[in-house]
């Protein structure tokens, strides 16, 4: 007999899409079945994530996979941060899937590349969920690999010359970051004899500070490449814009945020001493400014948005680098806002491309007359990104700036000034795109195109969701505050994995003498 509880929900966001991926691959001849399976799976993921968000609010939900006790077994941990990230990411993935279905139906290309689109997309969903839930450094690595491999396939979908060019850049950079991550895992294991995050939190403080620093930097380096933090960000604007619109949207929304999530875990759980805070702060500033200056120079909307994506990663790094509860809370809120708004903008740009036939600002124009509805869909998330009150972008930035001012060191003041400047430049860049795409005299005569309802519907839905974030901002900030509290208190996570100070998690384990297996490799 099986007991159903909140713990039952934890593995679902990983297991369901993986299972569905196999199923859709087997049913590649039946596009209709594929569509039904994918939509159902992602809807179930959203439901599971909602359940986890509620359940995790009363303490982290831990599952020892297969009943094997952590740290020898693998554990999945859903605390408030993980659950919130899961919820946002699964909602976004569902919306993007619906959008891409609308696109596929409209274009009638239900044949070739779409056959592998569904399985790959579901594997991506599984990878993202696994990364958020992993309670173990190696499992986090595996989660990253799952989502990266799926992203390689999605990015080079169809294998056109342009996508192969972009894919080569993306794949090579991602391979390098994976290697760095794996080196960090090896060093961590050599130094502590464990890869379980909770156990690492206990053991790492005893490790030699020099060794700690090496591991710390390697982890930040690996996650920094994934999160596209300057100077590790150059690959992103090169590779993202060439993919199909829904793929770019989901990449822009989620993949960099998985890196941010991993950095938050590193900074709070593994190395709460804050030794890297100042470095992160400077890098955050550089990311903001270099990114937004790049955006100002672009004349292609997709590239412009890719650069704003890089730039706004800097805001989250700023929040993390402040190292306080309020800082983390604002950073998490900003992640939620940014996943939504960036995905929305890329989806809208997909629609713009359909109407205008291009994404180059030189050749677009007059869209406000041809497609006034599209203009509204673009304007709202654009203003949200720039941080115009009362939209969620403004609230996120206020949280960050407030905490920066409260800390009041020279560095945080510089960062505060930098983030205000970045917001203004974002406004400039995005208004430039708005003016040129929607209001300038069209260089060539554009024929009105009827936008498929299947694409407009999901886009309108996610625009509404973005606006809705403002309405629920109070409760959401409350939730991120509590999430940040448990992140920074230093014991909630560990105690959830090892209840009552035990050396093993609750699960089957014949040998409760924890030192046996792990000390062989340990120097500590």
């Amino acid at each position: 007999m099986i007991d159903y509880s909140a713990q039952t929900l934890v593995p679902l966001p990983v297991v369901l899409p993986l299972f569905a991926a196999g199923l859709t691959l087997a049913l590649w001849r039946y596009p209709r079945a594929q569509r039904i399976i994918s939509v159902t799976t992602l809807s179930l993921m959203v439901a599971a994530a909602v359940g986890l968000v509620v359940a995790a609010d009363s303490g982290p939900v831990v599952v020892n996979v297969g009943g094997w006790a952590a740290p020898v077994g693998i554990d999945l941990v859903a605390d408030r941060l993980s659950a919130l990230m899961l919820l946002v990411s699964s909602v976004v993935m569902l919306v993007v899937l619906l959008y891409s279905l609308g696109q596929g139906v409209a274009d009638g290309d239900e044949a070739t590349p779409v056959a592998i689109y569904h399985p790959t997309y579901l594997v991506l969903a599984a990878g993202v969920s696994n990364a958020f839930l992993a309670g173990d450094l190696f499992n986090l690595y595996v989660g990253f690999e799952i989502l990266l491999v799926a992203s390689y396939v999605l990015l080079t979908l169809g294998g056109t010359a342009e996508r192969i060019r972009a894919g080569a850049v993306y794949v090579v950079v991602a391979l390098l970051s994976s290697i760095i991550f794996l080196v960090a895992v090896a060093l961590t294991y050599a130094a502590t004899g464990t890869v379980n995050l909770a156990q690492l939190a206990i053991r790492l403080p005893d490790v030699d500070p020099g060794v700690q620093l090496v591991i710390h930097i390697l982890l930040l380096l690996a996650f920094g490449i994934k999160a596209a933090i300057f100077p590790l960000s150059a690959w992103l604007p090169d590779s993202y814009p060439t993919a199909p619109a829904p793929v770019t949207a989901v990449f822009a929304g989620l993949l960099t945020k998985v890196g941010i999530y991993a950095i938050i875990r590193t900074q709070t759980l593994l190395f709460p001493d804050g030794r890297a805070d100042d470095v992160l702060m400077v890098l955050g500033l550089a990311t903001m400014l270099v990114g937004i200056l790049g955006a100002v120079a672009q004349d292609d909307i997709k590239r412009l948005l890719s650069f704003t994506l890089v730039s706004h990663i800097g805001f989250m790094v700023f929040g993390i680098a402040m190292g306080t509860t309020a800082g983390y809370s604002a950073a998490i809120f900003y992640v939620v806002h940014h996943i939504t708004v960036q995905t929305t903008l890329f989806l809208v740009v997909g629609l713009v491309e359909r109407v205008g036939g291009t994404t180059s600002l030189d050749r677009l124009g007059g869209l406000a007359r041809i497609a006034p509805g599209l203009a509204i869909l673009f304007f709202i998330p654009a203003m949200n990104l720039a941080g115009i009150p009362p939209l969620s972008g403004f609230l996120g930035k206020v949280g960050l700036i407030e905490e920066g001012v409260r800390q009041g060191t020279v560095l945080t003041w510089i960062l505060v000034a930098g983030s205000v400047l970045t917001s203004l430049l974002t406004l400039y860049a995005i208004v430039k795109a708005w003016n040129k795409a929607f209001w300038q005299t069209p260089p060539e005569d554009v024929q009105p195109v009827r936008l498929p309802r299947g694409m407009v519907g999901p886009t309108a839905g996610i625009v509404t969701l973005g606006v809705g974030l403002t309405l629920v901002a109070g409760p959401l900030y409350g939730y991120t505050d509590r999430a940040a509290d448990t992140l920074t208190d230093g014991y909630t996570y560990v105690e959830a994995v090892f209840p009552d100070g035990a050396t093993r998690g609750d699960g089957v384990s014949d040998d409760t003498d924890a030192d046996d297996t792990v000390e062989i490799g340990g120097e500590g």
Partner: protein
């Protein structure tokens, strides 16, 4: 556990074998050199070399080799660490998958372009070149008219000119 406390006779030492450490060094050096190349095939070989280097690193992290880690066959303090081997196995499988993908991509690149090199981003280069020329990155339709105010002035009816003529009279 302090390194000095471990005598070779009791349990397994954590001091890695020099041969393994040297092998890791060689694999990393060669691999990183190849990763810096432009041809995808060489990058791939570089990735495989470094990947194997990391696998050896994981192996070293598990301490010295002992007996098979099966209860009943090897006494507990002479067992190898099985966890690192599980991790290496996973990493090897991942590397295999990635190798297949990069090979396919290199082949596709060769099919399309006749070479398998990582190419420049042309749009990026174009923007950079225009920036170097200090030209605007995009054509501004509204600012198309390059006339200065002085150029425009003669075209505009100028009432004050009448004043001047009146003064002459």
């Amino acid at each position: 556990m302090n390194l000095a406390d471990v005598s070779p006779t009791e349990g397994l030492s954590t001091v890695p074998s020099l041969a393994l450490v040297l092998a890791i060094g060689v694999l990393f050096t060669g691999g990183i050199y190849l990763l810096l190349e432009r041809s995808l095939t060489r990058i791939l070989i570089g990735f495989i070399l470094v990947g194997n280097g990391v696998n050896l690193m994981l192996l070293v992290a598990g301490g010295r080799a002992g007996g098979a880690p099966i209860v009943g066959i090897t006494p507990e303090d002479e067992m190898s660490d099985p966890l690192v081997q599980a991790m290496i196995l996973t990493a090897v499988v991942i590397t295999l998958g990635l190798t297949a993908f990069v090979l396919a991509m290199a082949y596709r690149s060769w099919q399309l372009n006749g070479h398998d090199e990582v190419q420049d981003d042309l749009e990026d280069r174009r923007i950079a070149r225009r920036a170097a020329e200090n030209a605007p990155s995009y054509a501004d339709e509204d600012a198309e008219a390059t006339d200065t105010l002085d150029d425009e002035a003669p075209e505009v009816r100028d009432e004050t000119s009448r004043l001047g003529r009146e003064g002459d009279r």
